[in-house]
């Protein structure tokens, strides 16, 4: 059995967004991706706070990118998922699939 903290819902969504975005994952694109996929407004500062925490756990790395005039000359911070991060996502998926299996219908939808 694996030890360590579970990934939260938002943690998992962020890691999946990083996987989907690849090399172009920074604050704006991550927030847009989450808003498109979930239909909810995302607080950009929460994205950074969570990614910083995931970075401390070694699941994500970050690097500074270029600055553009429309950003007021401020640099972008790009985020990349690590091998440990990918492993965590895979484990979370497996656990969720196991829990999902055999569930009865949820409010008229197939589980």
């Amino acid at each position: 059995m694996r030890k360590g903290a579970y990934l939260g819902n938002f943690d998992l969504m962020l890691l999946l967004a990083l996987l989907r975005l690849g090399e172009d994952a920074y604050g704006v694109t991550i927030a847009q991706e989450l808003e498109e996929q979930t239909g909810r407004e995302v607080v950009v500062a929460s994205v950074y706070a969570t990614l910083e925490r995931l970075q401390e756990r070694g699941l994500v790395t970050s690097s500074l990118g270029d600055s553009t005039p429309e950003r007021g000359g401020r640099a972008k911070r790009y985020f990349h998922i690590t091998t440990a991060g990918i492993r965590e996502v895979r484990d979370a998926r497996r656990s969720l699939m196991n829990l999902w299996k055999g569930l009865p219908e949820l409010k008229g939808e197939k589980a």
Partner: protein, 234 residues
């Protein structure tokens, strides 16, 4: 390129009160997204949420540094108060009442000495004391909290002074200013109960000015109102 600028006040607030190493990146992201969304309401919402989110993230992530900042700030506040206030009121009967059986009364007589002490002075003078003294002590304490921390060392046992990292300065200064504000608010209830609402009402203006000056002093001394853009560390 467009000249559309995000709301200035919201940007100013986030720039000065946003904590952590990613504040510049957040400001950049919001500016970039503002061009697409074109909604001042959206920008304000994002900026006002970013301040508490980044503050609590910093404090939760650096609990020991936060505790040391509170210790340093309060030690300096008390030292500043007992050294500067009596000096200013030297030769008068103004002072604070140390009453061990009434710690709350002792606390407010100390915290609000610049207001309660010179209450018998002419009104403009009492207001000057109520504002100037906490502003000076607050600025001193804010300056120290943003730069240095008192910490205890176990091996060998010693008290030493360590430097505060630049990325953590905003968070610790806000935390200390918040603790002073909270203490003032907590003391106000027992003060009204003890002196009665009529007397408390007389002091309300100078007390509010005193509290505002304390917080402003801390923010000024802590460098939070200075216009220096912080760079992002890699």
């Amino acid at each position: 390129m467009t000249s559309k600028q995000p709301p200035r006040i919201a940007t100013w607030m986030l720039k000065h009160f946003g904590s952590g190493p990613n504040n510049d990146a957040i400001l950049g992201d919001l500016a970039e997204q503002y061009l697409q969304k074109d909604s001042a309401m959206w920008y304000w919402r994002q900026a006002m949420k970013a301040i508490p989110v980044s503050f609590f993230k910093e404090i939760r992530g650096h609990k020991r540094i936060a505790a040391r900042a509170l210790l340093t700030g309060w030690v300096m506040w008390i030292l500043g108060g007992i050294s500067i206030f009596p000096l200013v009121f030297f030769g008068t009967n103004v002072g604070f009442d140390f009453e061990p059986r009434h710690p709350i009364g002792t606390a407010w007589s100390f915290m609000w000495m610049p207001v309660l002490g010179p209450a018998s002075f002419h009104r403009p003078f009492s207001f000057v004391f109520a504002v100037a003294l906490p502003l000076i002590v607050g600025a001193m304490c804010g300056w120290l909290v943003a730069r240095w921390q008192i910490c205890a060392q176990r091996h060998p046992p010693a008290i030493r002074i360590s430097q505060v990292h630049r990325d953590q300065q905003t968070g610790v200064v806000l935390l200390f200013a918040g603790s002073i504000l909270l203490m003032d608010l907590l003391l106000f209830g027992p003060f009204i109960l003890t002196v009665g609402p009529l007397v408390a009402n007389l002091f309300f203006g100078p007390l509010a000015a005193n509290v505002a000056a304390s917080v402003l002093g801390i923010l000024l001394g802590g460098g939070l109102l200075r216009d220096n853009s912080r760079t992002v560390s890699n």
